[in-house]
Every structure is written in C-alpha cells, then in structure tokens.
Amino acid sequence: MDLTLKIWRQANADAKGKIETYQMSEVSPDMSFLEMMDVLNEELIEKGIDPVAFDHDCREGICGMCSMFINGEAHGPDRLVTTCQLHMRKFADGDTITIEPFRAQAFPVIKDLTVDRSSFDRIQQAGGFVSVNTSGNTQDANAIPIEKHDADKAFDAAACIGCGACVATCKNASAMLFVSAKVSQYALLPQGKVEATDRVLNMVNQMDEEGFGNCTNTGACEVECPKGISLENIARMNREYLYASLKG
C-alpha cells in the first residue's frame, strides 16, 4: 500500500504546531497502525528528521496509552479497538490519512501526537478508589454476595482503560463517559457504597476544575469508546451526583 500521511508535528507544549505531509510506500495491510508509525519513524531517522512522538505501551488494547485521532475519529475508523489494534487493512492503497493528537484543553500536547492525560489521574485520585484497611484482616471480597446483574454492570464499567477517546471524540471535549465509568464501577458494588457521596462529588468537581466540556448526550463517546462503555453510566453518575448534592 502507498499512503500519504498528514501528521500533526509540534516540537513541544509551547511551540506552534502544524500538519506535515509524509509519503509511505510498500505498507503491509497486515501491519498494525503503530507498526506503520514505527516504520515511518525509522525512515525519518534515516533521513535525519526528528521521529514522530506518539504514546504507546502494551500494544494489545489494554493499557490505554495510544491516543491518535485518525481521519477525524479517535482510534481511527474501526470500532471497539484502540489505535494499536487498528490494522492497515482498514485503509486502501493511495489513501491520505490525517493523524492528530487528542484535542482538549485538559489534554495539552506534550509533543507531536503525545498529550498529557494526567487530568484523568487527578480525577481518579479525587475519589476513584475504595479506602480499605490493609492491616491484614481485610475481608475477602468474594465473601460478600453481589447480584449478578450488578456485578456484570460494574465489570463493564471497570473495563474503561482511561485512554481519553471519549474526550477526544466529544464535540465538547467532555470527560463524562470516563468519570461515569469510574463512578459506576464502585457505585454498583457494596464495597463502593460507603464512600459513594464523597466519591461522586469530588470526582465531578475535579472533572469540572480540569476544564472538560459538558455532556450534550450526542452518544459519540459511546460509539468511539474502544471498550464499549455505555451512556447508561453517565445517567447513573447524574443520579449519583444529584442525590449526593441533595444529601449534602
């Protein structure tokens, strides 16, 4: 496959970035998207050009590090996959592919396609946990009976890998899907109910302070989420938040 790549290049957080065009030839359709980027970088290095910086780690759709906005969509045109699971066979010979970083005020560009998603970490630190006394006599989680339906829903919410595709996709750069998944995974379980009020208040407040946009219920986040996190979680978070606010 011969491809034309239009890639956002930005030397650092303060530099003014721009789209640069690169030609690639003999790209295998069996390559993953990131392998294609590796080949591009090898060619750039050989030419003495600074390679394209991009985030990646596990390359098997688990870690949530890869974060490219490909042809106008987070993680590219495929569904329920991260960029590392996207393969070049999804593109055609002669295609032009535009690659940009995830865009949001709360996700500032570090360099090229890498963005700082530590705002997600701060939201998680604000309440996305269960305080457990680990003195050695912690109760076995399996000793607490949990209704299967709730356990399944909690597990589905916990499948969120925090990649930020929801933010990147949302026309408002809203983080509601991510935060709602993190709120839901605890709200549905007895272990999480004790701190439910503080959790949702603190996490939503932190989300707002980070400068994410508001939810317009377009549903774009749900479509582009590589883990299929449902909008149901956002409704649950809204309920939790309203209840917690009224409770004080």
């Binding site: 939503v204 508001n214 317009t216 809204n238 309203l242």
Partner: protein, 219 residues
C-alpha cells in the same frame, strides 16, 4: 462546588426547563389547534388564558423564567464547551458517531429563540399593550381575527414554517436527552425515545398545519 455551578447541575437546569417548555408547547398546541375547528372555542380559551389571574400572574412569569433559564444556560454551556477545545481538529468526522441534530442543538436553539422574538412581537407584546398599557375594553371575540390577520403574510408564514422545522430538530434530540440528563436511563428509555420522536414530528407539523390553514383560508 454547588450543584448549580457544576456541569451536571447546569445540564439538570437545561433538562428540567426543557421538559417544562415541552409541557407548555403541548398546551399551546392543544389551544391553537382548536382555531382550525371552532372560532368560538378558540376565542373562549384564549380569553380565559389572557385574563385568568392565575395564568397571567403565576404561570406566565414561571414560563418567562423557564425560557430565560433554558437559553441563558444553553449559551453558558456552549461557551464552556468552546473553551474546552480551544485548538480545533483539522479533520473531525462528527457524522461517523453522532446524528447532526445532537451536534447542532445550539444552531436549532438559536433559530427557535429568534423565532420566539418574532412570535412575542407578533402576539405577546400587542397583547400586553392591549391589556396593561392602553387598558382597552375586554373583547372576548377578538383573538381569532387577530390570529388570522397575522397569518395573511406569506413571508411571516414562511418564517413560521421554517422555525417549526428547527423546533422539530431541537425536540428530536432534546426531548429524550433531557431524561438522560436527569439520570433516567433504563428499560423505559426506548419507549420514551420513541414517544419523543413522534412528539417532535407531530407537534411542529401540527403548528405548520395551523399556520398554513389560516393563511390559505384567510382569503
């Protein structure tokens, strides 16, 4: 952070004021459709609505507050949303994952708000002038004639029809979306979505029908 200052609180205000305006729209439609069938019934209801103290001095201020809250909060949210992505994408394929109506609520909302300006100029301001400024004598039979007179102009009818199309688009997403914003997403959501879609088509078409009916039968 207070509930109202939070993003979820602002969406709650949008949703509740939106649902309240939908209830108002329903009663407005129910009254207006009588003008097609009976001049006297329309006059009777209009006279009641225009002179009943409870409607005039309790419901009307609540309605004004609801409208103000809805569009003010809409602009506040839109401004925040713009700020949340100051650097825009070069390539953004919104059509791949969300319907046009859901992505352009601000556009359909601005059209409906502009229409509301014209609508108030056409009916509400003359009504306030008649009753409270000039304090003219009560005339229970004037409403139908005033309505028909307004729809004589083809330009006005055209603007009304266009506005009702945008109202339909606004309702198509906004109605069901309000339930999500207040945290209602369960086994009944599909039925609510279906009802909202039917409502968003039937009511605006009904308003279009009323405007066209009076325009075509005026001569």
């Amino acid at each position: 952070m207070t509930l109202i200052a939070s993003s979820i609180g602002k969406k709650l205000i949008m949703a509740l004021s939106g649902l309240f305006l939908i209830i108002f729209l329903t009663q407005h439609f129910a009254i207006n459709i009588t003008s097609v069938f009976s001049e006297s019934i329309f006059n009777e209801i209009s006279h009641f609505m225009g002179n009943n103290p409870l409607v005039q001095f309790v419901f009307q201020p609540i309605l004004i507050l609801g409208v103000l809250l809805h569009f003010t909060m809409g602009f506040v949210l839109e401004l925040q949303n713009w700020k949340s992505r100051a650097v825009k994408y070069k390539s953004y394929k919104g059509v791949a994952n969300a319907p046009w109506v859901s992505r352009n609520m601000i556009l359909s909302g601005i059209v409906v708000l502009s229409f509301l300006g014209l609508h108030l100029y056409d009916f509400w301001i003359p009504e306030m002038d008649y009753k409270y400024l000039e304090v003219l004598p009560l005339n229970p039979d004037r409403y139908f004639e005033e309505l028909v007179h307004k729809f004589e102009s083809p330009i006005r009818v055209g603007i009304y029809v266009l506005s009702f199309i945008f109202l339909a688009l606004h309702l198509y997403h906004g109605f069901a979306s309000s339930f999500q914003s207040v945290g209602f997403n369960n086994k009944y959501s599909k039925a609510i979505k279906s009802f909202a879609v039917v409502f968003s088509v039937v009511v605006p078409i009904g308003f279009v029908f009323i405007a066209l009916f009076h325009h075509l039968t005026a001569f």
